[in-house]
């Protein structure tokens, strides 16, 4: 059994290496006025810190396996362009990394892509791709788009968005406010909840958080899927006990107009955070329950 598992693990690693080799091979020698500046570098879960320091935690939180980095040099004094291809644990995780920063102009590359001044981000399959210009330069925008397009074309499978997205109510959902995550620290970077892991989030849990704006106010809805009913129940009790004074029978006012609510069913927990009104909290919770108003995001 151990030998079989070991062989399967080796198979996954070999497949991953082949994919990275293919992506490395797909990178053009030149693009616009830029040319490859040395060979591409490959980083793993340990060596990634030497490349992007503490920023690595963002990618490691989504099960980052490898990062392929290629720098392109421009003119002697001009800024370069850096392509970083992160291989995450799953396509859903690649989507999760993508949702970490959703500013910019949508662009039709990969599954989703955003272009801002000097930076293109996209995801496809289990890969999150960043193409970053180190400074202002004529032709940089076109070069970013060309590199992103080439890399996306070299990723064979599109992959799927997290299934949880379909369970988010559609009414009042603020565009590009959705984030997919696994852990408390990532949630805290978006919406600070607590210094402690009051929802018992872990690499085995999957969650989406989104912001809503309706006539009766604004607030956040968090949906979490736990591996089993027991863990969901423990999390529900923990959250209600630590945050809501033990109450889980409806929206609770935490003061200064902030309404919170929690409800669980099966392995799913729905949590409303920072709602402006009890009506909003109640309606979001009801709509998030099975059979409520959902939409693909």
């Amino acid at each position: 059994m151990l030998l079989a598992i070991s062989l399967v693990g080796c198979g996954d690693r070999r497949a991953g290496s082949r994919s990275m080799d293919a992506l490395r091979g797909a990178l053009p020698e030149t693009v616009g006025g830029w040319s490859k500046d040395g060979p591409a570098q490959l980083y793993d879960q340990d060596s990634i810190y030497s490349y992007i320091d503490g920023h690595a935690e963002v990618y490691l939180a989504y099960g980052m396996r490898r990062c392929l980095a290629q720098r392109y040099g421009g003119t002697a004094e001009g800024p370069g362009i850096v392509v970083d291809i992160f291989e995450l644990a799953t396509p859903a995780d690649a989507y999760g990394v993508f949702t970490h920063d959703q500013e910019g102009e949508p662009t039709a590359i990969g599954n989703d892509a955003l272009l801002r001044h000097g930076w293109l981000s996209l995801w496809k399959g289990p890969y999150f791709v960043s193409v970053y210009a180190e400074g202002e330069a004529d032709g940089a925008r076109a070069a970013l788009l060309e590199l992103g397009t080439v890399v996306a074309a070299a990723i064979p499978e599109a992959g799927e968005r997290p299934g949880l997205l379909a369970d988010l109510p559609s009414g009042g959902l603020v565009p590009r406010s959705v984030r997919y995550l696994h852990d408390q620290q990532t949630l805290n970077t978006e919406l600070f909840l607590s210094e402690d892991n009051v929802l018992l989030l872990s690499p085995e849990t999957t969650a989406v958080v989104a912001r809503y704006k309706r006539e009766n106010g604004s607030g956040y809805l968090l949906l979490v899927d736990y591996p089993d009913v027991q863990r969901r129940q423990r999390a529900e009790e923990e959250f209600a006990g630590r945050m809501l004074g033990g109450r889980s029978d409806g929206p609770v006012d935490l003061g200064d107009g902030g309404w919170y609510a929690v409800a669980g069913s099966g392995g799913r927990l729905a949590v409303v955070l920072d709602a402006d009104s009890s009506e909003l909290a109640a309606s979001l919770l009801e709509e998030a329950s099975p059979g409520g108003d959902h939409d693909e995001t």
């Binding site: 810190y49 992007i52 320091d53 503490g54 920023h55 690595a56 935690e57 963002v58 990618y59 850096v82 970083d84 992160f86 970490h100 920063d101 959703q102 500013e103 801002r116 001044h117 000097g118 930076w119 981000s121 960043s130 970053y132 180190e134 400074g135 202002e136 603020v174 590009r176 406010s177 984030r179 620290q185 805290n188 970077t189 978006e190 919406l191 600070f192 909840l193 607590s194 210094e195 912001r211 945050m243 935490l254 003061g255 200064d256 107009g257 902030g258 920072d274």
Partner: protein
Amino acid sequence: MMKPERGVSRRDLIRGGAGVAMARVLGLSTGVGEAADGPRSRVVLVRDLDALDDTGVADPGVVHDMLNRAVAALFDEEKAAAAWRRIVGPGDVVGVKSNHWRRLRTPEALEEAIRAEVTAAGVRDADVSVDDRGVRSNPVFARATALINVRPMRTHDWSGLGTCLKNMIMFTPRPPEYHGDTCASLGAIWKLPQVAGKVRLNILVMLTPQFHGVGPHSFSPDFVWPYRGLVVGVDPVAVDATGARIIQARRDLHFGGPSPIRPDPHHILYADTRYGIGVSDPARIEVVRVGASEGSLI
């Protein structure tokens, strides 16, 4: 990331009080009376509108003068030389812990200014070294009796801000061990024997600080601005808290409304409340202003 909104008073209750304190660190109003009791600290904010040339590069002469004016004001000395002699002297071995992050490093002109003043105060040239990632294998640092801590202020994807407190992380063999809870335990590094009691001066470089990050390299020249300042102090917590207020103010101005630093740079607060390293509450930090006041933001 989502455009953040202010909601500090709700989170105060969630955090059990830490939210109130962190909001105060960043200069956000909570309606709660400021605490004026307890230890106090002093920092100097020095600014000079001639600190940068037209290309944004630090002017060596101006920056050296800024440093000396700040140090003199910090120690209430008329002459900078006298102030430096209170920081280091003959017999000291001085490690200057700088920051060489390639996208926004400590200006070499400032490093040279520090070295010049340290040797002028009587430290032998062979007993001074400037380093960043090599401090653990640097022989001068290994026998250092004094450290001078200098680094540019910038936002950081995981700790919220890259601060003087965080700058000491290279003294640890495994920095990722301090990444938990978005770097809450950075203050613990200041208790390590290679750091504890040795830092004589902290210089938070705010010549061109970064107030927002994008992408895996967390840098965009669009979010760097010419503040032309240095925040200088003996207390790293007070220095960082003051710098954090400036960054927060710049973000609110740029984004047209409340735009909290994310993640929360709570390592500054905890360096005060959990590790007792310094003062984070602006109500107990005296900010001595030297030089230009235009655009100071705080």
